[in-house]
């Protein structure tokens, strides 16, 4: 019997590889390529058009000495942490409530999820208006007689980021709730029964048994929320335009403004690079957890 030659591994499952070309191109050319391009040009003093005029770390020095950037970073931090915590907590609580075999589950779920279908521009606009001290909540409460009432997050530099948060939560918790609900539905019914027989109160069952079991859902959710946080832009533009002053600036807006308003591409690229760096720091451990060693069994 003869030995069969091992065929060139490149040509095995060729169709699969051909079919994956769009993905490979996107990953390599657009995402990796675009990122590298961005990083390279962050070391130039490109203005309106990209130019290979390298200036070392100048752009970064300027970036980190800009108070607008610092505020952007701070805002992103506050916004990110709050959004992460609140949307997870609220999303989970809603999902847990909906999971109680309640009536009208579909109706409630629809209500919680519909904002997700609207764009951030729309969301920002509506909430800008509801939070407007003249027409909105503050105005209404005052007109009801409580004249000292004050609720104008969008006009108060100290809390403006929370005003944006309110709108962001409104828009995104529905999806989180859906994810959580799906996760809850995936939990073995017997676990609940076992906990009941053991006499464990509901909240403890959630806290010590169910939530730890939902780790994969939380990871997916985290990825989705986090990717949204980094990219937050439209909402801020629609709601406050970065104001009052520069109190609600965010990095994505900084990048955009630097590139197109002040026409300093190099500065925009430097800011982008810093953002990408942060993303990498967050993402690499995740990728490691997802793919590192553990293969599908």
């Amino acid at each position: 019997m003869h030995e069969a030659r091992r065929p060139n591994p490149l040509f095995r499952n060729l169709s699969a590889k051909i079919a994956a070309i769009p993905m490979i191109l996107t990953a390599l050319v657009v995402f990796a390529g675009g990122t590298i391009w961005t990083i390279i040009y962050s070391f130039t003093n490109s203005r309106l058009l990209p130019r290979e005029n390298f200036v070392g770390l100048d752009q970064y020095e300027r970036l980190w000495s800009s108070s607008k950037w610092i505020i952007s970073i701070q805002n992103l931090l506050i916004y990110g942490v709050c959004l992460l915590v609140f949307s997870l907590v609220v999303g989970f609580l809603l999902a847990a409530l909906l999971d109680q075999k309640i009536r009208f589950e579909n109706t409630f779920r629809t209500i919680f999820l519909y904002p997700f279908a609207l764009s951030f521009i729309v969301t920002g606009l509506v909430w800008q208006w509801i939070l407007n001290p003249q027409f909105g909540v503050e105005g209404i409460v005052r007109s009801l007689g409580w004249t000292s009432f004050s609720f104008d997050p969008l006009y108060n530099a100290d809390i403006v980021i929370y005003g944006i948060l309110i709108a962001a939560l409104w828009q995104s918790t529905g999806l989180i709730m859906c994810l959580m609900l799906a996760g809850l539905r995936g939990i073995d019914e017997d676990i609940w029964k076992a906990a009941r027989v053991d006499g464990i109160p509901m909240w403890k069952t959630y806290a010590f048994i169910v939530i730890p079991m939902m780790r994969p859902v939380f990871i997916t959710t985290l990825v989705i929320i986090a990717s949204g946080i980094v990219k937050v832009y439209d909402l801020v533009v629609a709601q406050t335009g970065g104001g009052p002053g520069i109190a609600s600036e965010v990095p994505a807006k900084y990048v955009y403004d630097a590139m197109f308003l002040s026409q300093n591409l190099g500065q925009g690229f430097a800011a982008s690079t810093m953002m990408l760096l942060t993303v990498l720091i967050v993402l690499i451990p995740w990728a490691y957890l997802e793919f590192g060693g553990k293969k599908r069994g």
């Binding site: 309106l48 104008d152 002053g245 002040s262």
Partner: protein
């Protein structure tokens, strides 16, 4: 030929003004394809730049004239209009001529200025001062002095919308008015850091600090909401461009009787000759190139200038046309223009990048009371020293 023209003039009056261009252009046998993008230059500009650098340029596009398009010109993406300009004797007709200077790079002309903005105005509510029992001020110092009385009467002395551009505008107006046009030109044009560190500017920053405290209680977003506060007497005054007049007119108020306008804050009556200009990207299509030339000529023709600026509410760039329909305040403006009390807009003097940094400083200063005037001035000096 069909020519696509992009711009960000989308509000009612602006659109009507653009329509005058379109009408005249269509009448010349071409076709105007309108590519309006609302928002501000901030939204529209990246789109226009992308289009041009992406290799799919429009036929003509609006830019604030100044240095915004400089690199596009340098990259050879913009059409050289020198021939047309010489043929139309633009150098002679365009007034003030500085407008054309900002369209010029290395002696070649690349854009067509179409109007003049004037933004150095202080609008005051007569009723508010009456209520506070103080005479209507005639200059900034009087105004600032009246602030305590106004506050006592429950009136917000100065209304400022919180969008960054409004703060920036107020600051620039204060600077030109208090430090004077020469200092302004030196600092922005020649980047004179010594001057920026001097006495004159210290006064400007003090005035800005005053304005900051005068406007502490105004919390509106849009400029027209701020104007509305002046109209209703909730606030005593607003620093805003000439377009604010439209609001007073809509509310049925009469200049001099119900409201007062002080160009240059009543201190230095100057007008900043910023404005809009059109650029023409280089096109391969000969027919379209011809249409571009026609459009460029057309935009500066006296008839179109008049029709356009009447609708737009701005001043024409030709000194040889006459605007009869202008109102009182506008006439004041024309007078100043005629006297030649003009300054160039910062766009024309400084790169967008440096300008944004300075504007950011103003915005931050205005919104953060913990920054003292001295601190702000120090930072301002740094920025000016490093500006280009």
């Amino acid at each position: 030929a069909e020519l696509e023209v992009t711009h960000w003039w989308t509000s009612g009056g602006e659109a009507a003004a653009v329509a005058e261009f379109a009408k005249a252009f269509d009448a010349s046998g071409h076709k105007w394809i309108d590519g309006a993008i609302a928002g501000s230059g901030g939204t529209a500009r990246p789109i226009m730049i992308s289009r041009i650098t992406g290799g799919d340029p429009m036929g003509a596009t609006q830019f604030n004239h100044g240095r915004q398009a400089e690199e596009l010109v340098e990259a050879g993406l913009m059409r050289d209009l020198t021939d047309i300009a010489e043929e139309g004797k633009w150098r002679e007709v365009v007034h003030p001529s500085s407008l054309l200077d900002s369209c010029t790079l290395d002696g070649k002309i690349y854009c067509v200025p179409v109007n003049i903005h004037s933004q150095q105005w202080l609008w005051l509510s007569n009723a508010a001062f009456e209520k506070a029992g103080v005479p209507v001020p005639t200059n900034w110092e009087e105004y600032a002095a009246a602030a305590p009385a106004l506050e006592e009467a429950g009136i917000i002395p100065l209304a400022v919308g919180q969008q960054p551009w409004q703060t920036t505008l107020a600051f620039q107006v204060l600077l030109t008015a208090i430090a004077g046009p020469d200092a302004y030109t030196k600092i922005f044009g020649e980047k004179d850091a010594d001057l920026a560190a001097g006495e004159e500017l210290a006064k400007v920053f003090e005035a800005a600090a005053q304005a900051r405290s005068m406007s502490a209680k105004s919390n509106v977003q849009d400029w027209n909401q701020a104007t509305n506060m002046v109209i209703t007497g909730q606030a005593a005054g607003q620093i805003m461009g000439d377009w604010a007049q439209g609001e007073f007119q809509v509310a049925g108020q009469v200049a001099g009787k119900d409201y007062t306008c002080l160009p240059g804050l009543g201190v230095n009556e100057v007008i900043m000759t910023g404005g809009d200009a059109f650029y023409f990207p280089v096109l391969d299509d000969e027919e379209k190139s011809a249409a571009q030339a026609d459009l460029a000529k057309l935009m500066l023709s006296p008839e179109v200038q008049v029709a356009f600026n009447l609708k737009k509410g701005s001043l024409p760039v030709r000194g040889d046309v006459d605007l009869e329909a202008a109102n009182d305040c506008m006439k004041k403006g024309l007078e100043i223009l005629a006297q030649g009390n003009i300054i160039q807009s910062p766009d024309q003097l400084m790169s967008a990048d440096s300008l944004t940094q300075i504007n950011d400083l103003f915005v931050e200063f205005f919104n953060n009371t913990s920054i003292t005037a001295e601190d702000a001035q120090k930072r301002f000096v740094d920025l000016v020293a490093n500006a280009d």
